[in-house]
């Protein structure tokens, strides 16, 4: 159960937005297998700093798989090889001694690189701004139990709402589509009675905004679902499609 491993890291280094980047090779020695991937990077960074070099920039906050701030493409997969796991929750016991690990930032036109592995995901906020909410002013709500919600729907809604906005879906999607992210919000709100009044408007404006921001189109490739740390199902994309069809053909919204 205990032990250490040695690794070769091939990491994308880019000093700033729009600047030229390249891969650098680093040796990560005596890595305890109980470390998380980010802790492994911490260790490498400490050594880099001590030798006067700039540490590898990467985003992170909670380090427990919930804030959605971390993420990189590790050996060709967003958040690395383990299913349902963010990078911060990926532990080194899933690698083997002597492995070479290629680490690249999430690549998408809509996620410009800020530095090294850090990307700008504010496009996700933009999509939510377009309609990812229920319009209710503070203090005007009726009693919470006045509208029962079938528990099955509440559960499904929660499945979708679990999205942490990490962007792995976009990173992995061959088409650079943000469909799973958009669908998780659309589906979450469409499943609840509170969200129905704005459902048509929401799906049209959010998918519209996604397109404007330069994300690709979903081709049902299912790669997003495969890397999503919260394992959000593409059945939510299907629900978005249904909502879209309904909204486009039968609602008064355009």
């Amino acid at each position: 159960m205990n032990g250490t491993i040695n690794l070769t890291l091939k990491v994308w280094r880019q000093p700033g937005p729009g600047q030229k980047g390249k891969f650098e090779i680093y040796q990560a020695k005596d890595i305890n297998i109980h470390m998380s991937f980010l802790e492994m990077l911490d260790v490498v960074n400490e050594e880099l700093i001590l030798s006067g070099k700039d540490p590898i920039a990467f985003d992170h906050d909670c380090r427990e798989g919930i804030c959605g701030m971390c993420g990189a493409v590790v050996n060709g997969k967003a958040h690395g090889p383990k299913k349902g796991t963010t990078l911060c929750q990926l532990h080194m016991r899933h690698f083997r001694d002597g492995d070479t690990i290629v680490i690249e930032p999430f690549r998408s036109k809509a996620f410009p690189i800020i530095r090294d592995l850090v990307v700008d995901r504010s496009a996700f906020d933009e999509i939510i701004i377009a309609g990812g909410y229920i319009s209710v002013n503070t203090g005007s709500a009726p009693d919470a139990n006045s509208i029962p919600v079938p528990p099955q729907n509440a559960e499904l809604a929660m499945d979708a709402a679990a999205c942490i906005g990490c962007g792995a879906c976009v990173a992995q999607c061959p088409n650079g589509s943000a469909m799973l992210f958009v669908a998780s919000k659309v589906s979450h709100l469409a499943l609840l009675p509170q969200g129905r009044p704005e459902a048509a408007k929401r799906v049209l404006s959010m998918t519209g905004r996604m397109k404007e921001l330069g994300f690709g189109n979903c081709g049902n490739e299912r790669e997003c679902e495969a890397v999503c740390p919260k394992q959000i199902s593409i059945s939510h994309i299907a629900r978005l499609n249904r909502e879209f069809l309904k909204a486009g053909l039968f609602s008064r919204e355009t």
């Binding site: 911490d42 798989g65 919930i66 016991r93 850090v118 909410y133 709500a141 906005g165």
Partner: protein
């Protein structure tokens, strides 16, 4: 300066209503003319931004993360309390109020806590209307569970992701206001100073974390909702970006700091596994509802835990606290755990862990039920440790989790600086010396959605505001100071990394100013921190420059503040001559090792005033008056 908590007169139950109906209002047309800066986008900051903008104010909202949705509130797992009494088990506003005051070991203000309990009900209504997918019963009505320190089921939850769901609710409400043009977002900004003009807080200086540029922003009032400073202990359950900087700079500008030594240690965290460890992960307290905490009776028992028979186990919480058992409040559970481990009876490779066992519950309710309740926590545990809790009991150990201390605020949530408000975990809060489970989320949202929209209006309507611009002297001066600070750090060019310093600071604090404190230890810590701080300014090694995305530099700024702030925590712990809640001084304990409060002399809020550079801080005491409850002995036996 005298401390005026500005508590409205009248009976406890009527204070807030009366206050709301008497407060001065800003006319809708004028609201548009007011600018408010909100720092922080956790539950407190995001809800405040949304609610203020809904009223018509212009809000500028800042956060460190790349998106406001990632504030650390997102990590709260367990749930949020509200006195809805949907379960009909005898809950009421009064009971929630009483439990919170008692849980806080009678070191909180009655009026504030009562208001909190009162507003809890509205929070749930609002969050449900926003689409927060709370757990439901078969009939579609809201489900509840019970949580540490309470005998009623009043905790609302959304799987193990309650904080996330509540935050996404507040976040999306705030983004709705971005669309309406009333909130402007400033992510990836670190606020490093509060700018005062003629004694009023009129703006901030922030560092743009992408470009490294210093930016100043002016407003009519500033709201700090910057969360807690638990990270001063290096290892904590807080997010890596949580820090004290904004509050600490406010303190240096004249805001008093309340009860800095009240730091809560959470009993159920995954134990430390090695030196490289960067943070600790909480296992939700809700596990204690169904889980039983134990160690082997014989410390030398090396059998696998699942092989140790019932008769050879010591369920020490149940033994020590027969009536509350595994559900005793956090401080009690944490201390009991530490005591057992200190006696050499702990388990795991380090001996600093105890078992949290759900096998009885799995036997009783079936794996399916347990999986539904705790599935994601179990998964998380297995992911981190590589051990499945369905097979073998979890191991847990206490870790720093929450700070009750924070900027001192009055009933209006205003600090001692006019126009500077503080919400959520960042203020010294309503939790006294110890916070009950599931009540931080409640407080953050009560502050943001329901209190600040009223109180800030009262302030804006009753004061006058000469025009200011971010290019005027006060802003420039403050910018210069910050820039000077940054340059000094960068010019040290020593040989030790920030993380290394931070780790050292953390271990000093954990050892001497953590769960158990002694005068001797605290004094020792004071010296050690002093030394470390001196070394910091001579031996810090930073790479990169000021005007760039430099995470190392951001960290160095925070650690610089921690090194100073640590002194204040220690000072506060030293001056409080009692044990209460989470503050346990070994000199004040009962023969059974329970904290010994001193209501005669210590029923006060410690509000510390910055004494100036290299001068000791000045203590002000806000006496706590209990008119509605009698401080009793907090017994969970």
């Amino acid at each position: 300066m005298s401390l005026n908590p500005s508590i409205p007169s009248g009976p406890l139950e009527a204070k807030w209503t009366k206050y709301c109906s008497e407060i001065k209002l800003v006319s809708p047309a004028n609201k548009r003319k007011f600018e408010i800066i909100v720092v922080g986008t956790g539950l407190a900051g995001a809800s405040a931004s949304a609610a203020l903008a809904e009223l018509g104010y212009n809000v500028k909202t800042f956060c460190i993360q790349d998106s406001p949705r990632r504030a650390h509130s997102i990590a709260a797992q367990g749930g949020i309390n509200a006195a809805k009494n949907y379960q009909g088990d005898g809950d009421s506003i009064w009971r929630l109020f009483y439990d919170t005051i008692k849980g806080g070991d009678f070191r909180a203000r009655e009026a504030n806590v009562y208001r909190l309990a009162e507003l809890s009900v509205k929070i749930i209504d609002h969050c449900v209307a926003q689409g927060v997918p709370f757990a439901r019963e078969y009939g579609g009505l809201l489900a509840n569970r019970s949580f540490g320190g309470a005998l009623v089921s009043r905790t609302f939850y959304a799987r193990g992701q309650t904080g996330q769901q509540l935050l996404l609710g507040a976040y999306s409400a705030m983004l709705r206001q971005v669309k309406a043009g009333r909130v402007s977002l400033f992510p990836r900004r670190e606020v490093l100073d509060i700018v005062l003009v003629k004694g009023q807080a009129r703006g901030i200086v922030a560092r743009n974390l992408v470009t490294g540029e210093l930016e100043s922003y002016a407003a009519h009032a500033v709201v700090l909702a910057t969360g807690g400073y638990g990270n001063i202990y290096f290892l904590s359950t807080n997010g890596m970006n949580s820090n004290v900087s904004a509050s600490f700079r406010a303190y240096k500008r004249g805001a008093f700091f309340g009860n800095p030594c009240f730091v809560q240690i959470h009993p159920t965290c995954i134990p430390v596994s090695g030196h490289y460890q960067s943070k600790l992960t909480l296992m939700s307290e809700s596990l204690r509802n169904d889980g039983r905490v134990w160690v082997p009776k014989d410390p030398k028992d090396k059998r696998r835990p699942e092989d140790i028979p019932e008769s050879d186990r010591d369920y020490f919480l149940e033994r020590l606290y027969p009536s509350y058992g595994n559900l005793v409040p956090r401080d009690v559970a944490s201390r009991a755990t530490k005591a057992i481990c200190d006696q050499g009876r702990g388990v795991g490779p380090t001996g600093y862990a105890v078992y949290l066992d759900l096998s009885d519950a799995i036997k009783r309710d079936g794996k399916e039920v347990i999986e539904k309740k705790y599935g994601n926590l179990f998964e998380m545990y297995e992911r981190i440790t590589g051990v499945s809790p369905y097979v073998s009991p979890m191991m847990i150990y206490p870790a720093v989790h929450y700070v009750m201390g924070g900027l001192w605020v009055d009933y209006n949530l205003m600090t001692t600086i006019k126009g500077l408000f503080s919400l959520g975990e960042a203020n010294f809060s309503d939790h006294g010396a110890n916070r009950l489970g599931a009540s931080a989320l409640m407080q953050g949202l009560a502050d943001g959605y329901f209190i600040i929209p009223y109180t800030i209006g009262g302030y804006l309507a009753s004061d006058s505001f000469p025009p200011v611009s971010p290019s005027q002297g006060e802003f420039e001066d403050s910018k210069k100071e910050v820039s000077e600070f940054i340059r000094r750090l960068l010019s040290v060019k020593g040989r030790r990394t920030v993380t290394d310093f931070h780790r050292s600071l953390g271990s000093i604090m954990w050892e001497y100013a953590g769960m158990e404190r002694s005068d001797e230890g605290l004094r020792k810590a004071k010296g050690m921190v002093e030394e470390l701080r001196e070394e910091y300014w001579q031996n810090l090694l930073l790479t990169g420059g000021e005007r760039e995305f430099n995470q190392n530099l951001s960290k160095a700024l925070r650690v610089a503040d921690y090194l100073e702030f640590a002194g204040l925590i220690i000072e506060d712990a030293l001056t409080r001559r009692e044990s209460c809640g989470c503050h346990f001084n070994v000199a004040y304990q009962t023969p059974e090792h329970e904290p010994l409060r001193d209501d005669q002399n210590c029923a006060y809020v410690a509000a510390w005033e910055y004494g100036g550079k290299e001068r000791p801080p000045i203590l002000h005491k806000e006496p706590l008056v209990f008119e509605n409850v009698t401080p009793g002995i907090r017994s969970y036996k």
